[in-house]
Symmetry: C3
Subunit: 445 residues, 3 copies
């Protein structure tokens, strides 16, 4: 009898369920799935905006840590990184990073065509509209590019920087990005770099290192006896503001990288990511302060600021897969590492005016390794390979690029120009004419 | 038999569906529709916050592009624009802009009563709580008002500016706003100004132009032989920070203007809007740099910054209806236009210290026209009419207002006051007493 | 017959309803409830980010309102407030504030264990993932802590400040926080402090007052005849930027404090909160300008900025329970009160360099009382008790703490150090070496 009744009522109830569903669909398609689609895409858009805000953070950090005579030049480079980079990433970078493999599967190179490709997606949870996917990705590309501007501050020609900016946004960053996030060989190997300790930060950090080496130090940075002269920045308020902005932006960078937010599993992971990000940042700050105190004999604001960034870079690869306590340890180690890195660079006489390599390069690698050490279910072997491969790729390609620019005679400004400052010689202006001399007289030199 | 079985089971299944729905409703009313309502309203609130952040962006841009002796005055004007404007827009502006037509339908004037009117809405997708609707709208009103402060910097009395600020927030902006967004005659005509290239930016730009004309140039801006003297700002770092903040804020301005976010169609449009906004901004920046290079013979940061803003203003009217490639072209043209606009003003000896008219006025009109050229299903004729009507309205009403203030003798400060700087003469203070002279001695003059 | 048919079809329809529901649950669990869970948690995460951004706002306000010679020290204190505070709040503060009562229910002290405790929650509306709950709460703790740094600027030893920062984040703030938000005695009494006019702001304001009293005024602040010397800040642009950032951050602080956003009732309350926040801020700004004008005879930017903050502090306790017009009145009164508070401090010769007590202490109390006066269904008696109890707790405990630090001889810097500036003496650096003297010569002193 039961069976009989089920058979009788089944078609009707099924029909009614379908009718109910299709009514919901017709009423502007408001179902749990379409709302989840809205949540996923809108959250990613907000995350992209936070990551774009990091451009302002980098600009403030780098300008604050450098001399005022080069400050317009630095701001300009940060601005053009994003503007030039976005157009190039639209044109070819995105296609190289998220296209289909053209080397036979899980390989080294992909191509997905010019531009973005579509403006709609299936309106279900976890599905991303291609437009917002591009927006989030372009913000990451701009981050990788702009890290370099600090390392090469005060001595590179503006046109050389624009060329570099085009090449990294269009080629270098997207290609290694494909290896991990586009489905390439590192992804196939099991390498895990959640939000880009390697893919983004180590690329910027090692590109900057290549630039700093080939350019050589700023005039007066090192003495003949091997000792270094501090070349203090002109405004630590801007630098501090910049670090606060970067911290804020990182809450787009890391949580946003989950790419899907609705569905309880995604939501829970995103919240873990956010808290781990905060804990690592704060641990990095505190332990760079302490390390700096033992090294310099005073609480140094610059060290604490770089320590916060170091903690953030260190947690970026693994924020989704480690515990809160591990996040603190990862940040703590990063805070110590950044101080060590700054001392190493000084020892080997490489002039990186803002500490781009210690923060993004060294702690980027640390982030990759820490994923293998503290992460759940990650392979340390794969982490070691990825944490070597990506920095090597960025360093070698940028080394060749900067060598080519040097050979072409357009890499470094002249000694006179460097001493006068790039703002006047490259841009014919002064940032603070009322405070550092009149524009008229300076320009007349 | 089928028919019979359907008739039998129908009432029961229907009842169960209703019961299920009403249980869901009773459990704190969590249905797809109420969640969509939350998504729509919360997203609009976040968008409003981003637009309010633009006040900080405008303040930084305008203060950076002007002399330090007037910087407190500029900051103060930006702050009061928002504070005074919000109270007036609460009192009558909102009612004038979104009330019901009192001129017979699709006309020129509306009234909806004082204040906001309600604190709840039907909890369904696409429905906006009146409170957040007001918050989003007031942020737009504040934007229109604050654009002017840059154009009239350095020579207007503070009390005259407060009066202007009241009039534009309470009357001028809401009335033309009604024409388009409140259901007035421009809307009926088919004019499309999605997020306000005209309604917001051209109103500010042309109000500023009227102010700049009636005030006349700052002392020393133009020579008797017709040539112009550059009057550089005092801090390009603030100006650059301001542009980055404005870029960020524009992701509230444009995507937020969709007003509904849940439902796949809305979500997809919002993502297109966000990406188009980014592409136009970057194209504007790059092509203003290039145009500036051909004009000035150097890469000029100020031009690139204004170019980014020009691209943003240009895409504002049409970001929902053009392709990515069109967005780049619209930004590109805006980037060129802003350089041309700056040269035109210099030629005709109008002193607009921050380029408010080239950016917001000229490129606002370009945004309206570009909607007709590149948009899907827009009428070029309607676009031309709207792109003339709104600027004319703003220019004429503000021209009359500023003339009245001039006739009353309260528009411009005296020559001595202007030379000394408005910070001391209007506010009895100095922004940077440690850097530009002591407060005591300056105040004692 | 009807009854018979119902009995027949009931099991089948019920089964189908359950099957439909369980299918939805299995498909990555996308139901209205899981999406609501995503909305609630993601919105709270965004709110937390906005509140964390307030750290930048406080840093800019406090640095701008103080002399450049102490500016690195101020920035450093703001940074460490957050970094040290977050680690301590993770370790024990959170457990003290949101643990279970250990004094027998609705009492004075709680404990919930070290750390956060979990990384998942039931995926239903109104349920918060513990990770994001902590993130939101830690941002509040950092706010309470950092308010003090402005009040004690220019004369406190850095190590004393770090000790204070540890104690307030780990003990003082969490304990009184438990009384109200953790389910303690004030909550049981019916006291309503929605987002923390008392719990956060008055704690910071009265802790700062205790510090300012025990430290005594900066050298040169008051004359022997009882008159006061203005000690102007070094950069009102930073201060203004800071207030704009704080305004923006407050839209995380107040709306976020609803803690649940999906469900029509929650959504509607959140929108009311946001608009009330804006209206009170703007009213506070306008009426502090007016009050300042009558007091000082000029429109004073510092007064208007503090007025905006005063309005924000005043509305914080009651933004969820008052009308728009009441919000304007609350802001208006706060704007007047802050000017009165500044005059009172000057009269009694307490040196609070940024007005931390007038803004956060006095207007915090006003916020608590205003809740009883203007709120719907609040008890004025309970409001009076809470508005006394929390400030007294913060003042007394901090008074004891600062007295102990004074007795230990590590509270105030020496007279020579104070005159030279804390940046050099405490941190061996200068914020603006190109503008205020060379680092080398200054450090060599």
């Amino acid at each position: 009898m039961i069976k009989h009744r089920i058979l009788k009522a089944l078609p009707i109830a099924l029909l009614l369920t379908l009718v109910t569903a299709s009514i919901a669909f017709a009423q502007d398609e408001i179902t749990a799935d379409t709302v989840a689609y809205a949540v996923d895409n809108i959250t990613l858009m907000i995350a992209a905006v936070l990551v774009l805000f990091m451009q302002a953070g980098f600009a403030m950090v780098e300008v604050g840590f450098n001399a005022s005579k080069n400050s317009v030049n630095i701001l300009f480079k940060n601005l053009m990184d994003m503007a030039v980079g976005a157009l190039l990433y639209f044109l070819i970078g995105y296609g190289l990073m998220y296209g289909s493999d053209i080397t036979g599967g899980a390989g080294f190179l992909a191509w997905g065509g010019f531009g973005i490709g579509g403006v709609t997606a299936d309106p279900v949870a976890g599905s991303l509209n291609p437009q917002v996917d591009w927006l989030f990705q372009v913000a990451f590309a701009a981050t990788a590019a702009t890290i370099v501007s600090g390392a090469v501050a005060g001595r590179m020609q503006f046109r050389a920087y624009i060329i570099y900016s085009i090449v990294i946004s269009a080629l270098i960053y997207p290609i290694s990005g494909f290896w991990q996030w586009g489905g390439g060989w590192l992804n196939a190997l099991g390498f895990h770099d959640f939000a880009g300790s390697l893919v983004v930060h180590s690329v910027g950090g090692f590109a900057g290192l290549a630039g700093a080496i080939i350019l050589g130090p700023r005039i007066g940075r090192f003495n003949k006896d091997g000792t270094a002269n501090p070349m203090p920045g002109h405004n630590l308020t801007f630098a501090t503001l910049g670090v606060f902005i970067l911290l804020i932006g990182w809450f787009g960078f890391n949580p946003g990288s989950q790419l899907a937010f609705a569905g309880a599993v995604n939501t829970d992971v995103v919240m873990l990511i956010a808290t781990n990000t905060m804990l690592a940042a704060c641990a990095g700050c505190c332990f760079a302060l302490i390390s700096g105190y033992f090294t310099l004999g005073k609480p140094d604001l610059g060290m604490a600021l770089n320590g916060m960034l170091a903690g953030l870079v260190g947690i970026t690869a693994n924020c989704d897969t480690v515990s809160n306590v591990s996040a603190i340890i990862i940040g703590l180690v990063a805070g110590i590492l950044v101080v060590v890195g700054i001392m190493i660079l000084e020892k080997v006489r490489i002039d990186d005016p803002v500490g781009a390599w210690p923060v993004h390069g060294l702690c980027g690698i640390w982030g990759g390794l820490a994923t293998g050490i503290f992460g759940t279910g990650q392979s340390l072997g794969a982490q070691i390979i990825g944490s070597i491969a990506i920095p090597v790729w960025a360093f070698v390609t940028c080394y060749i690029l900067f060598m080519a620019l040097k050979a072409a005679g357009i890499l470094r400004v002249s000694e006179e120009e460097e001493l006068e400052g790039l703002d006047i010689t490259e841009h014919g202006t002064i940032n603070y004419p009322e405070f550092t001399g009149s524009l008229g007289s300076a320009a007349a030199k």
